[in-house]
């Protein structure tokens, strides 16, 4: 039964069009991501045309000269080198110098500046002003700032303790490896995740309106299992196809992009990009977090659209909901963030992980402190599952109400 339910799904013209489009988008996005990487050669030249596709790998190779433990000495060296170069050329750094040396330790400078200023600042300004004293004690500054941040972010002692505990998980000195692939792909996959979640909602809704749309519901509900197993199978088909489509899409895009730009830096700490994030993880885990949140978003999208379609006997309203949950909600949440905290836990968080990891939002119940992301993930995963029996009920009881339809 499930086999034919799936066959029906993949045979449907609309679904085929959407699936083809999803594949195309994955390919195009992968190429755009690869194209967006920029690499400066030792002679100051930039890659162009098809050669740009090699930028990711060449950039990683260049930066990986710095691979390994990021000691205070290494940081001092990088800062000193940069300051000297800046002084020599009085102002704008020539591309040749950038390509020869600066590019390779750019991430290190970036990290140093971020550690030092806490708030984002213009990198050259910060780095040129650092003293030797500063750089030698950069990890002490980091530790001191962590304590300050914990105090600043926290609203209760429990939260402060929680953040401090998170920060303790940061292994100092950090281990460096070029991570541009993961950082860039994080951005591109985040957009693709939204597209997938919306498309999956659309297709899942179709599973529950096709009987009504095609006037096939009478045969369906008069069949032995029409109000039981067959209805359950439809739900299963919705979840299974959502999973297949989601992971196939993510897999395809990841495979192509990392295939082109390389996957250096899976184990690099995420704190290199954002030293004070309360999410202590690696760059690879950061990418997986985006993808996992996206999967939960897709499941939620499928559950919600299936339910609304089953209730309304048409997908017209349902197909608009994913767009609302993941796109419109983002703007609503943003504009209401001053008014109510509820918007910290809305559905758009799932598809905006790249922002969420930067903001230390903590939920507290009693003494238990849970950061925004795990909470939102658990919440919406639970909602997706809890809705399933309601889909079943709404659908399988078609026509059984005593009054009218």
């Amino acid at each position: 039964m499930l086999k034919y339910e799936l066959k029906k799904f993949f045979a449907k013209t609309a679904n085929r069009v959407i699936l083809t489009a999803l594949i195309l988008i994955a390919v195009v996005y992968s190429l755009l991501a690869a194209e967006s990487m920029s690499y400066t050669d030792t002679d100051g030249s930039h890659l162009s045309g098809i050669g740009k596709m090699t930028a990711g790998r060449r950039l990683a190779a260049d930066k990986n000269r710095q691979k390994g433990e990021l000691t205070a000495e290494k940081i001092s060296g990088a800062v000193k080198s940069y300051q000297e170069l800046k002084q020599q050329c009085q102002g704008e750094l020539p591309d040749t110098e950038f390509g020869k040396t600066v590019q390779s330790y750019w991430d290190i400078l970036n990290f140093t500046a971020n550690v030092y200023t806490v708030e984002p600042a213009f990198l050259p300004d910060v780095i040129t002003q650092l003293t030797e004293e500063d750089t030698e004690h950069i990890y002490d500054i980091y530790a001191a700032n962590m304590d300050k941040m914990a105090e600043e972010y926290a609203e209760t002692p429990a939260q402060e303790a929680f953040i401090k505990k998170q920060y303790e998980k940061v292994n100092i000195p950090l281990d460096y490896e070029a991570y541009d692939s993961w950082e860039t792909m994080g951005m591109y996959i985040q957009t693709y995740v939204i597209i997938l979640a919306v498309a999956i909602g659309f297709m899942a809704a179709g599973i529950f309106d096709e009987e009504f749309r095609n006037h096939a519901e009478q045969v369906f509900f008069a069949a032995k299992y029409g109000r039981s197993k067959a209805a359950r199978n439809k739900i299963a088909a919705g979840i299974i196809t959502a999973s297949i489509v989601y992971w196939a899409g993510i897999g395809l895009m990841s495979f192509i992009s990392f295939g082109i730009i390389g996957a250096s830096g899976f184990h690099t700490p995420y704190q290199l990009s954002d030293p004070y994030s309360i999410y202590v993880m690696t760059q690879g885990q950061y990418y997986l977090l985006i993808v996992l949140c996206g999967y939960i978003a897709s499941l939620l999208s499928a559950s919600v659209t299936m339910l609304v379609t089953a209730k309304m006997r048409t997908a017209k309203v349902a197909v608009c909901l994913p767009f609302f949950m993941f796109c419109v909600m983002l703007f609503i949440a943003r504009s209401l963030s001053e008014v109510t905290r509820i918007v910290y836990y809305t559905t758009d968080v799932l598809t905006n992980v790249i922002q969420a990891v930067k903001v230390p939002i903590l939920f507290q119940a009693g003494d238990v402190v849970i950061p925004q992301l795990p909470l939102v993930m658990a919440l919406y995963f639970a909602v997706s599952v809890i809705l399933l029996p309601f889909i079943y009920r709404s659908y399988s009881r078609y026509g059984l109400a005593k009054s009218g339809k």
Partner: protein, 295 residues
């Protein structure tokens, strides 16, 4: 085997589509005849548990069919009037899908599908997409899917709509062959579809059974006789206003009218055998069927 209706009603707001029907059916072919809006489809939908009666109860061997649920539907084959399908599926995938939701094992389902497509003359089109079938062909698939589970209760809502004359005959023969160990309820506007194969005729009007019984009984109960009368063309209208008139056949010296009347409408009128179609005309005050196919 007994399908019972106890004071079954279904109303949509003010409209009583089915109005307090009490009746009982056993094996055999039941022909449900009625004009548009008589309530045939509504009755069948309830019988197939697609919609619930607003009052009354339908029972199978004494048990409420909605309570029986799966075990009742297991016995059911249904071709709705508004027969829809999944346009992107091939004929064989469609049949296999329906077989699966009817709970038929895949092995048996394949065998049944082959037999049934053979029976409705669509073996050649197994791999064709449903949306690429003609209206009549789709209807034939509809008949085939209803039969997949070898149903004890076969409900066919205007099964012959859209079938060509030769298919119509084939269908009729098929149904009479099937009726032995099952209950077949079929609705139609076309009297000739049920005239010879239905053991029981149910005339339905305004949600009620107007007449139930054999077709002979129905004819015998008529007080009117059927008269054939040839009149000049200009007089046709005059007769049409005065009597219920069946066929008007054009002949060289005017028109031959088939008139229902207790007394001879004219001296030269000739008695003819009364048919079910004449009864339909008399009871419903209009000609039977919208596609008066004479086969």
């Amino acid at each position: 085997m007994e399908l019972g209706f106890k004071n079954v009603s279904k109303n949509y707001g003010e409209i009583f589509a089915v109005d307090d029907i009490t009746y009982s059916m056993e094996t055999g072919v039941y022909g449900l005849l009625g004009v548009n809006g008589a309530g045939k489809t509504t009755l069948m939908k309830m019988l197939c548990t697609v919609t619930r009666p607003t009052a009354g109860q339908i029972t199978w061997n004494g048990e409420d069919i909605f309570r029986l649920g799966e075990s009742y539907r297991d016995l059911l084959g249904y071709l709705p009037q508004d027969f829809g399908y999944y346009p992107s599926l091939s004929v064989s995938d469609y049949m296999m899908y329906i077989a699966s939701i009817k709970g038929i094992r895949p092995g048996l389902a394949k065998k049944r599908m082959k037999e049934l497509l053979e029976m409705v003359g669509l073996s050649k089109y197994q791999n064709r997409k449903m949306k690429a079938l003609s209206g009549g062909m789709a209807r034939r698939v509809g008949i085939a899917q209803a039969m997949l589970n070898n149903p004890k209760i076969l409900v066919l809502d205007e099964p012959t709509a859209g079938l060509d004359p030769s298919e119509r005959i084939r269908f009729r023969n098929l149904i009479s062959g099937l009726a032995e160990e099952r209950l077949v309820l079929l609705s139609t506007h076309i009297v000739s579809d049920v005239e010879f194969i239905a053991e029981q005729i149910l005339l339905m009007k305004d949600g009620k059974f107007y007449y139930t019984g054999t077709s002979e009984g129905l004819i015998a109960s008529m007080e009117e006789d059927v008269w054939l009368l040839t009149v000049p063309r200009q007089k046709v209208n005059q007769y049409l206003q005065k009597y219920p008139v069946g066929n008007v056949k054009h002949v060289p010296d005017g028109a031959e009218l088939r008139i229902l009347s207790k007394t001879p409408p004219a001296k030269n009128a000739v008695r003819a055998d009364t048919t079910l179609e004449d009864a339909f005309l008399l009871y419903f005050g209009q000609k039977a069927g919208d596609e008066n196919v004479e086969v």
